[in-house]
């Protein structure tokens, strides 16, 4: 598969106006060095010209890419375009904070060839937005969506978070309803995940914050899936819904199917020829390495064939691509166990592939273990 499909390019923009207490991606709030940083990204990209030639997806994530000054951002995009070949229908995504969405910015993006917007709405409930310490309001998010739509971005996605402490099912369904009413091409619904190093992580450790029970989280998950499927969305990955096959995130799918990708910026991960490597998670170290034209790589691992198989198995069981039975070594799949999982309606077989059901998604972390018997 990796031979026929072109790699993806990811750029991590580690600047945010404010930090969200649940987020564990690397970012800083001091953006005074943004232009130096963007130069470094272009330098870094240059170091990979021999390994990667052509991409068909480009993804600006963060951090908050939309927080970067327009001129600087334009410089970055053209810099990358001069270094690499992007195939004619490259999917180019920018993650935006609703607060940053303006007509001017959108028209600039349009002119730069950006054809997909991923909007970090998280919730259409103002109280929840305050809890999440987002800088926008529900009204602001709606306004942003209108601007995106009227700027002609048909391919835009809305990111939402559920399973907040104390969140009521009713409020979540309202958020979902609002989101779907805009008929976006894509909706991501993440369950709030607590990471130890974040402010929320600390609060959970101290007992100041408590996630909903597994049972409640399960209900959020199932009702979300049901609601969006009824409205024509495909639940193509655990947290991702696409309105029509073509609206799936091309870039993200590459992560889940061992297609090569290059990640630029601090903390970004790359994968090529069964090697995965990752950059330092510090902007200072990142800049330092690139100032002497060294790759800012913190570590790398070469995957053994067993490790590759294991990844294929668990990644495949997280989305509708599933796992090709004939491709999978028999020690990974135990027939009796597989039959049991089918009987328990956790997976289904279609065209020689094991495909997780919605109930299967709910226990996806365990499926690879269950399936190997």
């Amino acid at each position: 598969m990796s031979n026929q499909v072109l790699p993806g390019l990811y750029v991590h923009i580690p600047f945010c106006k404010t930090k969200c207490p649940y987020c564990d991606f690397y970012s800083i709030t001091d953006s005074t060095g943004a232009n130096t940083f963007l130069d470094a990204v272009i330098t870094e990209a240059g170091l990979y010209r021999d390994i990667y030639q052509e991409f068909d997806s480009l993804y600006f994530g963060g951090g908050t890419p939309s927080f970067v000054d327009d001129k600087e951002f334009a410089r970055l995009v053209s810099g990358l375009q001069s270094l690499f070949v992007f195939s004619p229908h490259t999917e180019i995504t920018v993650e935006m904070n609703p607060d940053d969405v303006t007509r001017e910015k959108l028209s600039l993006y349009k002119s730069l060839g950006i054809n997909r917007i991923s909007l970090g709405v998280q919730s259409f409930n103002d109280k929840e937005l305050v809890f999440l310490q987002r800088r926008h309001t529900a009204a602001g998010a709606k306004e942003a969506i209108h601007l995106i739509q009227s700027a002609g971005f048909a391919n835009f996605g809305i990111d939402l978070i559920n399973s907040l402490p104390g969140q009521r099912a009713k409020n979540w369904m309202k958020t979902l309803e609002e989101a779907s009413s805009f008929k976006p091409a894509h909706i991501s619904c993440y369950q709030l995940t607590i990471n130890g190093a974040t402010p929320f992580g600390k609060m959970v450790q101290e007992g100041a914050l408590k996630l909903p029970s597994d049972e409640k989280q399960r209900n959020f998950f199932l009702s979300t899936s049901h609601f969006l499927k009824e409205r024509g969305f495909i639940h193509y990955e655990i947290s991702n819904f696409a309105f029509g096959e073509a609206s799936r995130s091309r870039h993200n799918m590459k992560y889940w199917s061992h297609v090569p990708y290059l990640g630029l910026g601090p903390g970004a991960h790359s994968f090529h020829n069964n090697v995965r490597w990752w950059n330092v998670r510090s902007i200072e170290q990142y800049l330092k390495a690139l100032s002497i034209k060294e790759m800012p790589v913190e570590g790398r691992e070469r995957l053994s064939s067993e490790q590759l198989e294991l990844e294929k198995l668990f990644l495949g069981l997280r989305n509708l691509e599933g796992v090709e039975i004939s491709d999978t070594p028999c020690e990974s799949i135990n027939e009796v166990a597989l039959k049991r999982l089918i009987a328990e309606k956790l997976v289904e077989i279609h065209d020689g592939k094991i495909i997780p059901t919605t109930a299967g998604y709910l226990v996806a972390d365990r499926l690879p273990l269950l399936i190997s018997g």
């Binding site: 655990i238 992560y255 995965r276």
Partner: protein
């Protein structure tokens, strides 16, 4: 012969026996100082760590006395734990005198007394030695008082020493030469030699340690082991220098070794008599007992693939430990394994640790059991040490369990807590004596089964380390015994069954159910864990089904992280055992079988 002295050092655990032995060896320059590793005689890691001697060793110390003559001083080092009391008794039977070591800070302890009585039984000359006099907390006068009052020895004759600092070592050598009598015996009489130990040497086979009472033995002789009548041709005899030193012969009074093509140490019996095949003595030396195991447990490999490797490890281990007995055992939950018999709980722990450390085995051991006696309606009697063979309760007329006489020595202030502990453990027939002001000796009749279940740890904890403990098995007594089964989703987990006194069954089963509930991970369905006697459920706990097990995000770095977690889980899964449809991790077995809660 008149320049030979055979002696031993006896002491309570930690009173410095091995340090003293090392110091004596060092003084005789058998080993060069720079080669000298501390505690030469305790040469197993586990012995060093625990500060106890498990396997006795012997060394022949050449020492020039005040009279200018070189003496052969045979130091027979003895195991320092009650589990090995029979080995100690045979070592003592090979001596004419002992150094009774008392810690200057700790004073007389339960095992000091036990050891003293054993030495007296053999009519040995007893030389009291007060060790660790260099300690700031040393209480020499107090200990002297205890030696007079509790031991009934003359404290004026006690030698003051610090094995660690090398103080008083010469005095000890002189006392051994002057006070311990030379051995007696007749080199012309038929051979009678007492086996007091045996070691395995991968190149030479079994090396038998013995004391020659009468007669002479030399290479080429045909010897006979009197207990089982087997004969062997002697290849080499010699004395225990470091290393061994071959001699032309061993004669009456000597302590030394015999190598005679004996394959494993199990072919010999400690306490057996060696004689010459063509000129035997009429009667074996007195005091032979066949040592029997008193604690039993099954050993299973954690991963069933590892069974062949466990077989090999046990065979190798057994070469050097005649006291361990084992036979095949099998469990529906844990697969193939071995039922093993041990001399006591410490012996069990030693076997477990050595299999794990020296033989690299990952094992699960089932709850230790004693040997019970069941009197059946048809007048037959069965002895059962494995819950698997518990007879049909309807056919049991009477049950009996082994009892011990426990002797516990504590400072007076701990009497209350110790009495309470013993009573909780079904102790009866208590007796208090006051061997010295402020100190109490408590004796109790206790079921052995209660002692092997974390008694020693509890005793140490309630007495803040001041309680010392010694025991001997006395008899079997009637007892209300039941078999406690543990069920997981209705399936019996045979490896967790135990035979237990009726009154303890509920508490034990609650404990096991709780441990399992903590250790068995949630599965797709609800899991019921129950404790049952026969068909009657007496304890229960439940593990709810998992409802959600998924992480929402999975991008770049999450993939490696997730894979690593899965790799770990997969490894753990190899160590899971299926009981019915429930996966039970090894940790659950270990937790359920662990006897102490702390």
């Amino acid at each position: 012969m008149k320049h030979i002295r055979n002696f031993s050092i006896i002491a309570h655990i930690d009173h410095g026996k091995s340090t003293l032995a090392d110091r004596l060896i060092q003084y005789t320059h058998l080993v060069e100082d720079r080669q000298f590793r501390d505690q030469i005689l305790d040469n197993m890691d586990i012995e060093r760590e625990r500060g106890i001697t498990i396997k006795s060793q012997t060394v022949d110390l050449p020492y020039v006395g005040k009279d200018g003559v070189e003496y052969e001083l045979n130091l027979i080092d003895t195991p320092g734990h009650v589990d090995f009391s029979y080995e100690v008794s045979r070592a003592l039977a090979s001596c004419e005198g002992v150094l009774l070591l008392v810690d200057a800070a700790q004073g007389v302890e339960a095992q000091t007394l036990g050891n003293l009585y054993a030495a007296m039984e053999h009519n040995l000359v007893i030389i009291p030695v007060i060790n660790k006099i260099d300690l700031p907390v040393a209480n020499i006068e107090g200990v002297k008082n205890e030696i007079d009052q509790e031991l009934g020895l003359d404290s004026d004759l006690a030698i003051l020493c610090s094995a660690k600092e090398g103080i008083g070592i010469e005095d000890i050598f002189h006392a051994v030469i002057e006070r311990v009598p030379a051995p007696t015996g007749d080199a012309e009489k038929p051979l009678s030699a007492l086996i007091f130990d045996a070691h395995y040497d991968p190149f030479r086979g079994t090396i038998v340690s013995c004391r020659i009472f009468d007669g002479t033995v030399k290479p080429g002789d045909m010897i006979r082991l009197m207990y089982n009548g087997t004969t062997y041709k002697v290849e080499e005899v010699g004395v225990f220098r470091l290393p061994r030193e071959p001699k032309k012969e061993l004669t009456a009074g000597m302590v030394g070794y015999i190598i005679a093509g004996i394959k494993t140490v199990s072919d010999t019996r400690v306490g057996d008599t060696i004689t010459l095949d063509n000129n035997p003595i009429a009667e074996a030396l007195p005091g032979f007992i066949e040592v029997k195991p008193v604690v039993f447990s099954s050993i299973y490999p954690i991963a069933s693939d590892d069974y062949p490797s466990l077989v090999e490890a046990l065979e190798k281990y057994k070469l050097n430990d005649a006291a361990l007995v084992y036979q095949k055992d099998s469990s529906a939950a844990l697969g193939q394994g071995f039922r093993c018999g041990f001399l006591g709980l410490l012996h069990l722990e030693i076997v477990q640790e050595r299999l794990e450390r020296e033989f690299d085995q990952s094992i699960i051991m089932t709850a230790p059991s004693v040997q019970y006696r069941f009197f059946l309606n048809d007048s037959s009697v069965v002895e059962v040490d494995n819950p698997l063979y518990y007879p049909d309760p309807a056919k049991i007329r009477k049950s009996e369990e082994p009892f011990i006489k426990a002797s516990i020595l504590v400072p007076e202030r701990y009497v209350g807590v110790v009495m309470k502990l013993c009573m909780e453990r079904r102790g009866v027939n208590s007796h208090l004596s006051y061997p010295a002001p402020g100190r109490v000796e408590i004796t109790f009749d206790l079921p052995l089964a209660e002692v092997i279940f974390d008694f020693y740890d509890k005793l140490k904890s309630v007495t803040q380390g001041y309680g010392s403990f010694d025991y001997e098995i006395i008899d079997y007594r009637e007892s209300n015994l039941v078999k406690l089964d543990i069920l997981v989703n209705g399936e019996k987990v045979d490896a967790l069954s135990i035979l237990v006194h009726h009154d303890n069954a509920r508490e034990r089963s609650l404990r096991v159910c709780e441990k399992l509930r903590e250790e068995i991970p949630k599965q797709q369905f609800k899991i019921a864990i129950q404790g049952a006697i026969g068909g009657k459920i007496i304890a229960r706990s439940t593990i709810s089904a998992f409802r959600k097990d998924v992480t929402a995000k999975c991008y770049g770095g999450d993939i490696s992280r997730k894979r690593k977690l899965l790799e770990k889980q997969k490894k753990g899964k190899k160590r899971m055992r299926m009981v019915g449809n429930v996966e039970i991790p090894q940790s659950a077995f270990l937790a359920a079988l662990k006897t102490d809660d702390e």
